[in-house]
């Protein structure tokens, strides 16, 4: 019974994500594209919740849906009329894009279904938050304090860089 509800939720999320992603890359209005992207990001957070990675789902919602979408909305509003994607794509470019995407998708799907993956040992419970904290802050093997510090320096650098690039002179 529980497995069935999982499958139904997964199918619903997958449908939502694919439709929203298609609309996000085809709609002419940049604001609408941003909102469709938001739906895709929420769907991804839902997938993380189904996978028992609740912390990852929370990070996805706060960073992506909360931060990046707000950035896109501000950019679209600041740019205003210039942000509208009114020019029509040439049919040649359209065909090229479609062919590249369809070929890649066919190849990837074929590989996914023919490749011999190792045995599945799925997670049965939520990853405990104190394990995540200790792994993130530990300095032993398979611990992540160095990338954590590197990312914090990167975020500082990117904040200063963004301010420097975007400020009015």
């Amino acid at each position: 019974m529980i497995l069935n509800t999982h499958a139904i939720i997964f199918m619903g999320l997958a449908l939502l994500m694919v439709i929203a992603a298609l609309l996000a890359v085809t709609t002419r209005n940049i604001m609408r594209a941003t909102v469709y992207l938001l739906f895709v990001l929420f769907g991804t957070a839902g997938l993380y919740f189904i996978l028992h990675y609740t912390f990852l789902g929370a990070v996805q919602v706060t960073v992506y849906a909360g931060g990046i979408i707000v950035l896109f909305v501000f950019a679209a509003l600041l740019i205003g009329k210039g942000a509208r994607d009114l020019t029509h794509t040439s049919i040649l470019r359209y065909t090229a894009g479609f062919t590249a995407a369809a070929t890649g998708l066919a190849l990837t799907t074929y590989l996914i279904f023919t490749h011999q993956f190792p045995d599945v040992k799925p997670l049965t419970s939520v990853v405990p938050i104190n394990l995540i904290g200790h792994t993130l802050m530990g300095s032993d093997k398979y611990n992540y304090v160095l990338p954590f510090e590197a990312v914090s320096v990167l975020l500082l650098a990117c904040m200063i860089g963004a301010l420097l690039i975007a400020r009015k002179r």
């Binding site: 999982h6 020019t87 599945v120 997670l123 975007a166």
Partner: protein
């Protein structure tokens, strides 16, 4: 239980929808949205491989988390650049942006 292949196919669909958008959009912000789709699809793959095949480790989990953080940084810088391009050239249509090409 949902087979891992379903997740992988979903991620592949999202990735190639992003690639399609990357080819066909004519606007810097729209191209950036397509890039976000591509990055998001990759994040799903990392999480699925970790959860289904190596649940005793957390490598994919942390890779996804750092990828989300770096994607946020990348988007912030990209949007700053786009705003600057708009301020200097008055447009963000790819067709009109030729100065950086050579």
């Amino acid at each position: 239980m949902i087979p891992a292949e379903y997740y992988l196919v979903l991620a592949a669909l999202m990735f190639f929808i992003g690639v399609f958008g990357f080819f066909t959009r004519r606007n810097l912000l729209a191209v950036l949205i397509s890039t976000e789709l591509i990055l998001n699809a990759i994040d799903i793959n990392f999480a699925v491989f970790n959860a289904y095949y190596y649940p005793e480790h957390l490598e994919g989990f942390f890779f996804t988390m750092f990828a989300i953080g770096i994607a946020a940084a990348e988007t912030a810088v990209a949007i700053a650049i786009i705003l600057n391009v708009y301020r200097n050239m008055g447009t963000i249509r790819l067709k009109n942006l030729k100065k950086l090409k050579f």
